[in-house]
Symmetry: C2
Subunit: 360 residues, 2 copies
């Protein structure tokens, strides 16, 4: 086999696969990259047993052959090459990688021993890739990386007629985002770590879904991905969304982020980074206290609702996470000192964070 | 005490001190920042017992008083403040820090218990701060962070009449840089870790040196620093600088850095990252070999000297370090396959790296 491919396109494909393919594994074959050549180009693929990923790279190929190479070394070599055009040539058990004055000979692995990876060719439903990626990215923070209950380590995708919704929760907070979608898909739970990779590979165009047994395949113009789904019942998060809003404030999200970051410096790390929110007379006063002193910050807000004043406490870390996806004006909806609160963008946008309050 | 100071200037001073003052210590007082107020401003100082550092910050001060505060918390608070003007007010055992809508109350420490820090007022000799900083920065890499022999963890400063020289070595390589200097100073060895801080605080203007017992004080317009010197005999590094140059090549430093980085990907980490240099007929061929394959790169060079060809081997890591301070054209001077080699900038500049070769 002999192939000519531009360094830029090959590097881009390799950088996606590098994130999925483990750099170390008790099964060294899993650290390999599978390269399948056809007249039109190279299909690069790999797996970490949770996610299978495949990416097509257009190339000029003569005498197509298939091979496996050490994924991370190959990617590192390609990235460091001088010159724009890369020549690959398979000779014996070595893959030559050439560009400019460089000539690398990389030992290849055993192609036949590599686990077969198969990707579906039909699609069951299709979503807008950019919308899906943004929605997953907005709620990802609320999923836990360690929670004992598997569903708290996942992101639920719900089809709701004219729209779809992603929801994540770690049991203390809920983040959700609605986005436009057509078609009836299945509700399913994607492991948060797999969602991270999905967020990375999705760009423009369509994300075509194919449902399998405990598994989802996502196909875009560039890539194909299989991912294992999480089993289990996602908690009834709608139950915790407060309906009876008694006080509401609107203020620039950035000002609130900065003020919370500021007072959190003195918040007690051993008491949930507790920051108090005191609303009254068009002011939001933030206060925190710890071993080294006290902090206070006052912000002007637009205040509404039937209660004239309210005092609540939150975990500063959680407040900052919840504000992360909000640009422009933020709207904070309070239903009481001991009830969950809603943070969302003023004017909608489909995103909402629901947070428990700390005991006052 | 009450002081008004601009956030930018105060933050800059604090960021220098934050690097020296430990964030944790078995003696909690050492994590404090000392603030001495006068009518003209605030003198901030701290120590890690290796280095004492002091920095003057102009401020408007009423009823000057002295205090100590937790250094890292105070710096973090100031950095996060909104607004350009910071108000500091000492009341009881709390320091109020105010700006914009923020009001922090930080508990102060026991000023009298803090170790006295004294800085000399006269100067023995004076060097150009920018030249000294650049020279120290160029040779720092060659000093070891772990070597058993203390002098290998230091940088030697030599006064040589019309010039000064800094030299560092870890026993396998030597880096030196000459720079213009007037006056007769003492030769001394600065711990490399203290040199790191010195590099950071030196900018323009003069660096005034005052010699003490096993100690050097450096004063600039902004800062005053005391540092402990290393005791011991610096090795006779001039002995290893080869005099009999038999082959010499000139090529762009960047091209060589990139090519060495490239082939080093396949070099054997367990064999000193060995990269071979083969010079002949106006070409420099780099070659490396490891468990996963072989790499080769060919560069055009301007070749000179009486030997028509030579083959040498180096540690790739050391080659990259040695090339670090070289911009433009690099000159490699070889005296034989088993003798040390010289890397320097073509056309001088005072910097020179000397490296042992690996066995061919």
């Amino acid at each position: 086999m002999r192939a000519h491919v531009t360094k830029k396109i090959l590097s881009e494909g390799l950088s996606l696969l590098e994130r999925v393919i483990p750099s170390r594994s008790s099964n060294p074959l899993l650290t390999s990259l599978k390269v399948e050549a056809s007249a039109e180009g190279l299909t690069l693929s790999g797996t970490n047993l949770e996610i299978d990923l495949s990416c097509f790279v257009p190339a000029e190929v003569q005498e197509p052959q298939n091979l496996v190479v050490p994924a991370h070394l190959f990617a590192q070599i390609v990235r460091n090459l001088g010159g724009e055009l890369v020549e690959l040539e398979l000779a014996g058990n070595e893959l030559a990688v050439r560009a400019g004055g460089s000539d690398f000979k990389l030992q290849i692995g055993d192609f036949d021993a590599y686990p077969p990876l198969s990707f579906p060719t039909h699609a069951d439903v299709s979503l807008d890739a950019a919308e899906l990626s943004r929605a997953l990215g907005s709620v990802r923070y609320a999923a836990s990386n360690e929670a004992f209950q598997a569903v708290f380590r996942g992101i639920k995708l719900e089809h709701r007629g004219e729209s779809a919704r992603v929801v994540a929760s770690d049991g203390y907070r809920v983040a959700l985002r609605d986005f436009p979608a057509n078609g009836d898909g299945r509700n399913l739970i994607i492991p948060a770590r797999s969602a991270d990779e999905l967020i990375r590979v999705l760009r423009d165009g369509e994300a075509r879904f194919t449902y399998g047994e405990g598994m989802l395949s996502v196909t875009t113009e560039r890539v194909r991905m299989n991912l294992k789904l999480l089993d289990g019942e996602f908690p009834d998060y709608e139950r915790v969304i407060p309906k009876d809003i008694r006080l509401q404030v609107t203020l620039p999200a950035t000002a609130l982020k900065e003020a919370v970051s500021r007072v959190a410096v003195l918040a007690d790390k051993n008491a949930n980074n507790r920051v108090e929110f005191l609303v009254s007379e068009g002011k939001l006063r933030l206060a925190a206290e710890g071993d080294y002193g006290r902090a206070q910050d006052t912000l002007d807000v637009v205040q509404g609702g039937m209660e004239p004043a309210m005092s609540l406490a939150f975990n500063a870390r959680h407040v900052l996470d919840a504000l992360g996806p909000i640009e422009g004006e933020a709207e904070l909806l309070f239903s009481g000192s001991t009830s969950p609160a809603i943070f969302r963008a003023s004017g909608g946008g489909g995103y909402m964070a629901v947070m428990v309050t700390l005991r006052v």
